[in-house]
Subunit: 319 residues, 2 copies
């Protein structure tokens, strides 16, 4: 089923019209869905369509849009009043401040409107729905729908319900996100950091520790991924990588390398946090490659590279 | 300095002419260096030039060679006799069986030939040079030069010396590998798994544990990397990623997310190995995506994707 069918022609609402909200607006509008953006700040809301238009122009310049910028942009409107913005909407994606009490307050407000079938996804990268979405009439329809920025380029989405989220809600969000062209993970437990940040966290932890121990430099870690592991990981994940790396597949791989990988895991008992001296060391190393004053220019370069990578991915897509 | 200057026009020797050795032959010959391949198996050695030619044809078909296949192939010769293969060579890359005693025996044989300046790099992914290269006259010239397969596409190389390896040897290998177009990591300690496999190991450990706990599926882990983290990691590493992901750089990022990532690290105390039931579960999940009988076809697909990715990387290369 396509995205329009799943919304039954109804609009979706983007609550919080900053960078994350603008990214979501593009994901929805690009798929043909009407989007209403709302924000408690009039200033943020005023600049939102411009932000969306700029990113759409950039996507267009890389050939990443199937319709004109104007056509897609025409699907995006702004509405300062939250209740009006939600009226008749089938789905709301909230990207307000990353604080549980702010999100809880928003949920109570939405609850007060009395919508019977509105589904509410939160963009939070780390706050479980249980921290803001429990014990309300809307609770079965509240879940985490966590994107990686920008979601119109990086397709992964994590779905994480609270114990009170209904299976129907998660199923609908799954279908809807896939219909929008996203890649969906279902996280079955409100585990800290969900799946994506856990994977990033364990890799970073080992990286920071090796730098702290003088085993290698930050740049060496970056090379190991960028010029090594990242080659395969850019199109197959770590499980498929090892599945293909032993003659008889993943069980064969586990027999060959499981003991080594287990020894590596066991060799790390230290739980040292990223303390001040270590942060200073990493900061110093990084500034040799990108000066503080050049961070923004480098971010522009990164975004260009992301666009080019998205073009490459689209061209060499799975058969 | 280019690769030819660094070899002073002398040839290099590839010891062990299987898949890894053939990959190395391409790296050397592509850079203009003469390569002698040798192997204790006459059969393996006989098919080596064909293996090299096949891979060169494939690179050529993707526009990844600057010279003709014939020109590059003309630099590769075979020599069954180890001593003759090493005679006059400036560098030997050994890719024999991944067993310390086999490598030790090879080192003793090379030692007996009495070459005064031959540098010997080992392709081992996990055996430190201390396990096969100590207490010989050649010890200062023995080090690990670990590639990721295939090295003519995936540029990363780990250099790891034993305590007896000279700094001059490591410096020369560093310059030589860079001149060949590889990306070089210097690992300052013979740490288990070196850098690349440690990073892979910690990520896999978390992945296997989440699958064991039912948090998500293998395919979800693969999506998290392939459709999420791998987007940035395909052109910037994990340190540069976080350096660019907070307004004021990596120290700012550490202040914001350090505590969360530390909690995630601390939340994993279990040291469970990849045991039989878990391996079976992962195997079962993987076979839903690629049947046992289709593994080879999928490997061909992977190799095609790697070629396409290499083409993309070359096109969107760093300014």
């Amino acid at each position: 089923m396509n995205a329009i069918d799943l919304t039954k022609g109804k609009p979706v609402t983007v609550i919080g019209a900053g960078l994350v909200g603008a990214g979501w607006a593009i994901v929805f509008a690009r798929a043909g869905v009407s989007v209403r953006m709302t924000d408690s700040s009039a200033q943020v809301l005023e600049s939102a369509p411009k932000l969306v238009a700029q990113q759409l122009e950039r996507l267009h310049s890389h050939g990443l849009l199937k319709e004109s910028v104007a056509t897609i942009l025409a699907r995006v409107s702004v509405e300062p009043d939250l209740k009006k913005a939600l009226d008749g909407a089938i789905y709301a994606q909230e990207s307000v401040l990353e604080k549980a009490d702010v999100k809880r307050k928003l949920m109570l407000e939405i609850e007060s409107f009395g919508y019977d079938d509105l589904i509410i996804g939160s963009s939070t990268s780390g706050i479980p729905a249980s921290d803001f979405g429990l014990d309300l009439k809307i609770s079965p329809r509240v879940l985490v729908v966590h994107p990686v920025n920008p979601p119109y380029l990086v397709p992964i989405i994590e779905l994480v319900g609270s114990p009170q989220t209904s299976k129907e809600t998660i199923d609908w969000a799954d279908h809807f996100m896939q219909a929008l062209g996203q890649s969906v993970i279902r996280v079955n437990e409100e585990i800290e950091g969900f799946v994506i940040n856990r994977l990033q966290a364990v890799l970073l932890r080992e990286a920071w520790t090796m730098v702290a121990d003088g085993v290698c430099s930050c740049e060496d870690v970056d090379k190991a991924i960028r010029d090594g592991l990242g080659f395969r990981w850019s199109f197959i994940g770590p499980f498929e990588t090892i599945d293909l790396n032993a003659p008889n597949g993943v069980a064969d791989y586990a027999a060959r390398f499981g003991p080594l990988f287990h020894r590596i895991a066991q060799s790390r008992d230290q739980k040292r946090p990223w303390d001040e001296p270590l942060i200073k060391e990493v900061e110093t190393q990084r500034r040799q490659f990108v000066k503080q004053s050049e961070l923004n220019a480098r971010r522009d370069w990164r975004d260009e590279q992301l666009m080019k990578f998205a073009v490459h991915r689209a061209k060499s897509a799975d058969k």
